[in-house]
Assembly symmetry: C2
Homo-oligomer: 269 residues x 2
């Protein structure tokens, strides 16, 4: 699968509104084949994660950002289904605590970055500090621009120290969000996920699209690229995220560690 169309080139001019949230090109009307492809990708990811863990050399950081209901939780569950939970950690960043606010905005995220052999998924991230903060006017334009630079420098530092960084924006349309919010409102088992506060973000939809556009433009680097993932279709979304992760891990040219010297001669009494 060609993942290039979803990758944002450094310095490229784009607007989120140019991207078709409803794109289903990878399914192409044939859901069964698409599901089979996803199963194959899952099996690949399972092996690749085992290898990453065994080799214990690389670290993988995956950042997930999106509007509410776009499927961050579901992506994590579907893409990592079957992968050893031992080597995969999810760090969810909510409204910062008093202690977190008393530190710089990268403090709490740095603490959760992956160790050697680990995959860490950020469910929301330091990007909230240039999104919700900007939309609500809690930071001014100058601070926001400084933060883009600080984020780039921080991610560059992680990369220089052995971390591979992948960032995904799960792109749904405003109409799709409406559909999903109504489904949550009206389905007893989903009602607990309905947070009336989400409507406040929805009311600022266009401002969020602008904030995402600017943040992604400013921080999609060669070392830590952003991918914009059409996410109205869950299957399309999962196929893209899985492919990008698998291709990236394969690109690391990992190998199982060499056996200790003289292993074959060791006697087990």
């Amino acid at each position: 699968m060609d993942i290039k169309p979803y990758k944002i080139k450094p310095g490229s001019q784009f607007r989120l509104s140019q991207f078709e949230a409803g794109d289903k090109s990878l399914i192409n009307g044939d859901k069964d084949s698409a599901r089979a492809k996803l199963d194959t990708l899952r099996a690949r990811l399972e092996s690749l994660q085992e290898l990453l863990y065994a080799e214990g050399r690389h670290k993988l950081l995956i950042v997930l950002q999106a509007m509410d209901t776009a499927g961050k939780d579901s992506t994590i569950r579907m893409v990592f289904d079957g992968v050893n939970p031992q080597g995969v950690k999810v760090a969810a960043f909510k409204a910062p605590t008093a202690e977190e606010l008393a530190h710089d905005f990268l403090w709490r995220v740095h603490a959760k970055t992956p160790a050697k052999g680990e995959i860490v998924i950020f469910n929301r991230s330091h990007y909230e500090d240039v999104l919700i903060t900007r939309v609500n006017g809690w930071i001014d334009t100058g601070t926001c621009k400084s933060r883009y630079r600080q984020i780039n420098e921080f991610e560059q530092f992680l990369v220089e120290n052995g971390t591979t960084v992948l960032k995904f924006y799960l792109h749904i349309s405003k109409d799709e969000q409406k559909k999903r919010l109504l489904e949550r409102r009206d389905t007893p088992r989903k009602q607990w996920k309905f947070n009336p506060g989400d409507l406040a973000s929805r009311a600022r939809w266009d401002d969020y699209m602008d904030a995402y556009t600017d943040a992604i433009s400013a921080t999609s680097t060669r070392q830590a690229p952003w991918f914009i993932v059409p996410a109205n279709s869950k299957l399309q979304r999962n196929l893209i995220v899985s492919s990008v992760i698998c291709d990236t891990l394969e690109g690391l040219k990992m190998d199982y560690p060499k056996a200790v010297e003289g292993l074959e001669k060791i006697v087990v009494e």
Copy 2:
């Protein structure tokens, strides 16, 4: 499935050597049915974990202890296959760091205990501080006994504060360990797991069995029981661990949170 035979009653006299590591009674010669049962248990666990997470009231701590190769990693992978990684964390405790050693022995484990709605699996735990330390003579008998009491008090504290605690000893025979060590030694993809240091523990097998017997006797409480799981057969092992977790979660009588007042009237623009 009746989980009682595997549960150690508080204050009961037993020796690990009385337990049949090779027990396959739950499979009873019919692997296909046993696998189907395990699939059913997995699906149950997936729903129960979602409910635990949604309700956000209970915390579940699972302690896994065992001799090398007994299958701690594999149990985690097999039992939690398909469960949302977002709500399940694994904390692996290795040889303590200098900073950890500079604190009391419960400091590093307390930091990793589950939050509301979470499942945390300890891969090894504070029990190493009454096992490897005792077998190697790093602590004396008096310290070891004090630690049993301190562990019971600590776990009692966790329980009083909303944590459910389940502790599993995965029981393999010395012969089975030999088989698995040789398999690791001779299978290229598994050689990285072969740690010649494991042979040192193997050489002290009987001392470890004594240390486990004493520790389990002293710390299997009504609130935080130990289960001794026959683990020569992976299927038998997974069936027991899954059943205990499912039965325990079902016993919590959880429910999805009530929808916010007037939810059905909320308009999504």
